[in-house]
């Protein structure tokens, strides 16, 4: 299956993925509604995009009481808007925090890989996000642990120096 491979070392924090995602998913440019989220690390000196892994369990899908989540032809866990009643069980079941709820439409929404042409990967200028055949893995864990700990050490050093 093709997945979103994230190489956080390449991310410059330009946020084009969030803009493109929100436009394709909602029809408007509003990063606040993007289902890929760029996180800053080390006091905004490095960044990493985070989104749904399309995990094997599909916690959102199994939790849904009305079968409103399914697996799309490209292998994404996808919300069927006609079925979704907006009960939010999926948002509490997903242990990654990557399925959301839109109070205006009263529906859940999440990354559906844009039906096989993910906008985030298409617009990423540094190939930090690629849509490729790969095994899903924890793309960010190693990158983030080094960076945030480094910033803690920095804060600690600054505190000791009276900063």
């Amino acid at each position: 299956m093709k997945v979103l491979r994230i190489t956080p070392e390449r991310c410059t924090g330009c946020m084009r993925c969030e803009l493109a995602c929100s436009y394709v998913q909602t029809g408007t440019f509003q990063p606040a509604r993007s289902v890929i989220r760029v996180s800053p690390f080390e006091g905004h000196t490095s960044y990493a995009p985070y989104t749904c892994t399309q995990c094997a369990e599909g916690w959102c899908m199994t939790a849904c009481p009305v079968e409103a989540l399914t697996i799309s032809p490209v292998g994404a866990k996808a919300v069927l808007d006609d079925q979704c009643v907006g009960c939010k069980l999926c948002t509490i079941a997903c242990p990654y925090g990557t399925i959301f709820y839109n109070p205006e439409t009263q529906k859940a929404f999440k990354c559906d890989l844009c039906g096989g042409t993910p906008a985030c990967a298409a617009v990423c200028p540094t190939a930090a996000i690629e849509y490729v055949e790969a095994e899903t893995t924890d793309w960010l864990g190693g990158f983030a642990s080094k960076r945030v700990l480094r910033s803690h050490e920095g804060q600690h050093a600054m505190a000791e120096a009276g900063g």
């Binding site: 606040a32 509604r33 989220r37 996180s39 690390f41 990493a48 985070y50 892994t53 995990c55 094997a56 369990e57 599909g58 899908m61 199994t62 939790a63 009481p65 009305v66 079968e67 989540l69 399914t70 697996i71 009643v85 907006g86 009960c87 939010k88 069980l89 948002t91 509490i92 079941a93 997903c94 242990p95 990654y96 925090g97 990557t98 399925i99 959301f100 709820y101 109070p103 009263q106 899903t136 893995t137 924890d138 960010l140 864990g141 190693g142 983030a144 642990s145 960076r147 945030v148 700990l149 803690h152």
Partner: protein, 438 residues
């Protein structure tokens, strides 16, 4: 000989057991479903009450779906006696069903406060579809609705009542609202939020009687003024449907005691959902979790085991989520463990609250309040669930979260929680969408 499965209960646990059996055997076994009601999802009844979905939307195992799944039904029937030595279940119409294995998923029933007038016409429970229809027929624009009980069930219909433009008063006997879901600080924040949205909240109010006065209801309390209501909804708790098992020889504590395969003390009798007392994921102790996600997971695990697989269940995680007037309220795991170390932080101006409960450097429980419209709230709801569920050692991240209990995302990502969660599946294999089974 064809294997004969009997499923008692057409709710979430029964539905998931049936789907999972068929996912594995594609129709090779015989399944009989005994259900007092046509199968529907209780979880979506509040949306029917709000009239945001039609009644037909609530049904799960419809006749065509049952035919597709090759399920024979005894609808409108109740189980009255279990004869484990004979492997026979007796129904209330005298039918005897012989089985090779059996699932008890008979759920819970609402309990009304034991006060005079609790059974008057116009005093409702909101639990079954029939009761939901009764409430839907009664509430009109401007009706004064009194919700007796401020627990989870009451709060699931709060938005629906407001959507119908009714006036709402919530009364609760405990000193705070949502006493089994959030702490005092959180409850006070939610109470302020509700007051701001026009809901009257009265806590510490002991109802003593309901009287009928020309169609309207007078509610009397031990202290304080009477209330006059057009519609009274009692949401004063539930009890598990187990009485019919007296004399069956099954071991019952608060629920039917089950092992890690969800088998009772009788090897071919399983229990799932509200009636099953199984392992709590966080404490490892037997617990009764009468919640939708537990019913779903129990049902899937039982279904796999009934289909001849060997699936052990890791345990259920207590979790609840509510949205009231666009405020999200959620709690997980050991959120109220008084022996746990707790970090809490509130941002009242943003209606945000986080509480994290620890055993050493592992997160064992959490509570969260936040504006539902904010994707970061939802993100934190999920990540807190993931941190409690995966139970990993957070090491230095614990100190990070002590400094700022709101900064959950970097702690989640950098502690490698995703790597711990990715291999986790309930059945030891990738899930299949229910709609695509058979």
């Amino acid at each position: 000989m064809t294997r004969r499965h009997v499923i008692i209960g057409g709710g979430t646990a029964g539905l998931n057991a049936i789907l999972t059996i068929r996912e594995y055997d594609r129709g090779a076994s015989e399944i009989r479903l005994v259900s007092a009601e046509r199968p529907y999802s209780r979880m979506v009844l509040p949306y029917y009450l709000a009239r945001s979905i039609t009644e037909s939307h609530v049904f799960t195992l419809t006749p065509p779906r049952l035919a597709e799944l090759q399920v024979q039904t005894h609808l409108g029937r109740r189980a009255v006696r279990l004869e484990t030595a004979a492997n026979r279940l007796m129904l209330d119409d005298g039918t005897g069903l012989e089985y090779d294995d059996l699932l008890i998923a008979t759920g819970s029933s609402p309990v009304r406060a034991a006060v005079p007038g609790a059974d008057l016409p116009g005093v409702h429970s909101f639990w079954t579809l029939a009761q939901a229809r009764g409430v839907v027929a009664q509430i009109r624009e401007g009706s004064h609705v009194v919700l007796v009980g401020a627990g989870f069930i009451a709060f699931t219909i709060l938005d629906a009542i407001l959507a119908l433009k009714a006036r709402l008063t919530v009364v609760e006997v405990a000193p705070q609202i949502l006493p089994r879901m959030i702490d005092r600080t959180g409850a006070e924040m939610v109470e302020r939020w509700l007051t701001r949205h026009g809901v009257t909240v009265r806590t510490g109010a002991t109802l003593t009687a309901i009287e009928d006065t020309e169609g309207r209801k007078h509610l009397r309390f031990r202290q304080g003024e009477d209330l006059v209501a057009d519609v009274v909804i009692m949401a004063t708790g539930i009890r598990t449907n187990l009485e019919w098992l007296n004399g069956s020889g099954l071991r019952v504590n608060r629920g039917i005691l089950v092992d890690d395969h969800l088998r009772s003390n009788v090897a071919n009798v399983f229990a799932a959902g509200d009636v099953a007392e199984g392992r709590d994921l966080v404490t490892g102790q037997p617990a009764l979790h009468a919640i939708e996600p537990t019913a779903m997971e129990h049902g899937r695990v039982v279904g796999a085991n009934m289909a001849g697989r060997d699936v052990a269940y890791r345990g259920s995680l207590l979790m609840n989520i509510l949205e009231v007037c666009h405020l999200d309220i959620a709690s997980f795991g050991a959120w109220d463990d008084p022996t746990a170390e707790a970090f809490a932080a509130a941002r009242p101006e943003r209606w945000a609250y986080r509480k994290l409960l620890w055993r050493g450097d592992r997160l064992i429980g959490a509570m969260i309040l936040g504006i539902a419209n904010d994707l970061w709230t939802t993100n934190d709801v999920g990540m807190l669930k993931g941190l409690v569920q995966s139970g990993g050692h957070l090491g230095a991240w614990k100190e990070h979260l002590r400094r700022n209990p709101f900064d959950i995302k970097p702690a989640f990502i950098a502690s490698g929680t995703t790597a711990r969660l990715l291999p986790e599946t309930t059945l030891g294999k990738p899930s299949v969408p229910g709609g695509q089974v058979v």
